[in-house]
Symmetry: C2
Subunit: 310 residues, 2 copies
């Protein structure tokens, strides 16, 4: 039996399409799961080698179910990310005309991306939420709704046709997916990498979060995501999911993480992995004074000072 990747199912959703863009997916059995927690639990239990789940969306922001699963429970690590542009097709039973559509369905996350299109083209259609976009397509096939918003690729699977394609209210609507596995050594740096961590503050005081971010800033590290998530200890109690540019084997990143480890109540390392948004040769150079060489020669200099040999 080949090693398997669990993913947020059902089949025929954007998640599956994104997963199939990973070369390593071709050699694995791909197993759809009913939910993000179920996909990640399959990894924790050893049932699956890895899980592939959405984590961020340019319209909705961080996918909180995924972030909360990575923040709590047995530690997991991110090994890959995939960016997928999201545009919807309006899927109908063959022959259905736009004027005949009284009911439409899709996953609730699709709604903000098709709202304007609906208002302009089907102002009187009644919206009902589906468990997933693929499930919405299935319900159209069964005759329960007149039309579903889903990826165009879902049409063939459910015997539907795309009455309209390329529907997206927000330009550049993208979803970011991650491949998550049990903790192990991160892949080697590619030159265009990202490091994800979760930070818990030691206490709540003016400037507390600013001080945490300072560990990145003083080392010239740019942040790509900062998403607060409730700790469960009541309103106003948050931990912070942070994506930073760079790899834990970069000295500036390693030193920032050491600084955070010293000042935070808790730090959870979620992995260093290749960025999907940029090629290594397009990554900007480190800020002056923050390259590995400069870190190394500064460490040498301090060592010489400690010996009185400056």
């Amino acid at each position: 039996m080949p090693a398997s990747y669990a993913y947020l199912g059902p089949e025929g959703t954007f998640t599956e399409v994104a997963l199939r863009t990973l070369p390593e997916a071709a050699t694995r059995e791909l197993v759809p799961m009913v939910s993000v927690p179920a996909a990640l639990d399959a990894v924790r239990s050893g049932e699956a080698e890895a899980a592939f789940v959405p984590i961020e969306n340019s319209v909705e922001g961080g996918i909180t179910t995924t972030l909360d699963e990575l923040v709590a429970g047995e530690p997991l690590m991110i090994y890959r990310e995939v960016l997928l542009s999201i545009t919807f097709a309006l899927l109908v039973r063959p022959g259905t005309k736009l004027s005949e559509i009284k009911t439409v369905t899709a996953h609730p996350a699709a709604q903000p991306q098709v709202r304007n299109w609906l208002k302009a083209n089907l102002p009187d259609a009644v919206w009902e939420s589906a468990a997933s976009n693929a499930d919405g397509a299935r319900l159209v096939q069964e005759g329960r709704y007149d039309a579903a918003f889903a990826g165009e690729f879902a049409a063939a699977r459910y015997g539907l046709e795309a009455l309209e394609t390329g529907i997206h209210d927000a330009e550049n609507a993208q979803t970011r997916f991650v491949l998550v596995g049990r903790p192990a050594r991160p892949a080697a740096p590619t030159g265009a990498d990202k490091t994800s961590v979760v930070l818990w503050q030691r206490d709540d005081h003016p400037g507390g979060l600013r001080d945490l971010l300072g560990e990145f800033a003083v080392r010239g590290i740019n942040l790509m995501l900062l998403q607060s998530r409730p700790t469960g200890a009541g309103i106003g109690n948050y931990c912070f999911c942070i994506d930073a540019e760079g790899h834990i084997s970069d000295r500036r990143v390693a030193e920032a993480l050491m600084g955070l480890k010293r000042i935070c109540l808790q730090v959870r390392f979620l992995g260093s992995y290749p960025r999907a948004d940029i090629e290594p040769d397009a990554v900007r150079a480190p800020l002056p004074g923050t390259s590995d060489d400069e870190f190394a020669s500064a460490a040498d200099w301090v060592a010489r000072c400690q010996d009185g040999r400056f």
Copy 2:
């Protein structure tokens, strides 16, 4: 006709219960709306004097629909907040036994708060999402599901009985609601106030967010919420919804907002209003050097210096 408050309906949800704790609600007509955008649009159009909507939850974090509505569109302002402890009752048709329950329903937001209870007490029950907790109760009344999770107060309205009360996975589960109106002069400071703003960074560079937070930190202002929301310009493009301690008429807060106005691309003021979590006499004193008197005497001193009279 009395002035009306729109609120996130339907009747019989936690939102209505929270709204009725406000003394001013007693003299208004309370109008349930189908969604948060609909409630806020009623204010923007002048149809309603104010809207009452959930904005933050200790289990789920910021309510993104509400935040996104306040971030974009015609500006609105927050005038009041209410904190409500959330515990669920399991509502059934009178006489139903726990062992007879095969299907349960509630709003999806209820699920993380009842998940453990369900696993322990009804491990085989099938969950179906409802449009609201009150709607779930109605569907139980109609016989479509066996049980609904909702506020205990919803039982009477739908002819149901509470088989179990006080269900909550997370201790101290609370939801924060806000009363939102058209922009006007904020209420006078009470001594325990909160100021809400939305910040857009001028550009993306290492330390950018740290610098924004520094405007609060150097003036001893504690933050109570920092929630990133997508700007719609693609993955990684965020603005920041921030709640800070204090009132815009406090000199430290006014000066922090001036600093942000200078360094941000855009700042949206969402209001200064009384905190619901603490009484004025329990608020800690400003950090040394950040009281109104100290700001005033420091301004005097600089003015004297400018005159050569120090």
